[in-house]
Amino acid sequence: MNKQTLTSLQQGDKTAFAALIGRYQKPLFSYLGKMTLPQAIAEEIAQETFIRAWQARETFDLEQSSISTWLFTIARRLALNELDRAARRFEVSGTTTTDLGAQETVSEFAHADQSSPQDLLHQAESQQALRQALATLSLHDRSLLALAYLKELEFAAIAEIEGIPVGTVKSRLHRIRQQLKNKLNGEDFHDG
């Protein structure tokens, strides 16, 4: 988004803000999906993110930060709070957060491609396995990994959102990817 659009957005231009939503809704849902949030909750969080951004638009400093960093910082905070609350609720009921929205995965992706039914099934299985593996990561690791796979964000932006140095982002990312790969390759995981 250019500076002029952002300036008019800050001055209360709703058309500019609608354009901002159009631009960032897909990466935002992609992030929230990798955070293993179910569709309905992700929708609420995404909506709340944009509402808060609109309400705080005048305080946003164009010189200091990028709009994507700002939006994902809001979304991250909301998502972590929600997952933390959910984890505490499920601790009481004896369920795990791994189950959150897991049942949606296969049906969502079964129609995503033009491949053969066997390929689609394999793809859906891989995605479900990935979702379950993601859910076993800590919330902060999950957030870092989800941000890292967004095309919109550079390492510096991820570091700013997470509030850690760039070097730490890289080293943590390496460790998380390794951990995720081990989980996906582990026999116990597939049997589970």
Binding site: I51, Y149, N185
Partner: protein, 104 residues
């Protein structure tokens, strides 16, 4: 993030997943879909919040006007007209209580 996104198509084996396959999977997978008319929904919520705020501000402003207005002559008359009999009643009650205790 271009250095992290290797856009190779790699078959994902059932049991072992390579680094490239993991990258591909994580880059390409989208667990959620953007709901239809999402932008409209958000803009509608923003409008509703703005309307609600304006309504609240309006009623708050009306309340402030009532509170801050200077008292009218009839408000003083009502206060004195109601206040004097009330004070007399209290005094009468105290006198009768004192009278009863003196008699007893």
């Amino acid at each position: 993030m271009t250095d992290k996104h290797i856009t190779k198509h790699v078959d994902i084996p059932k049991q072992t997943l390579s680094d490239d396959a993991l990258d591909t999977l994580l880059s390409e997978v989208d667990f959620l879909e953007v709901p239809q008319h999402f932008t409209n929904k958000v803009m509608q919520s923003i409008d509703e919040i703005a309307d609600e705020k304006a309504t609240n501000n309006g009623s708050q402003h009306a309340d402030d006007q009532v509170i801050n207005a200077a008292p009218k002559w009839w408000q003083w008359a009502a206060l004195i007209g109601g206040g004097i009999p009330a004070l007399m009643q209290v005094l009468a009650f105290i006198f009768s209580a004192w009278n009863v205790s003196n008699l007893g």
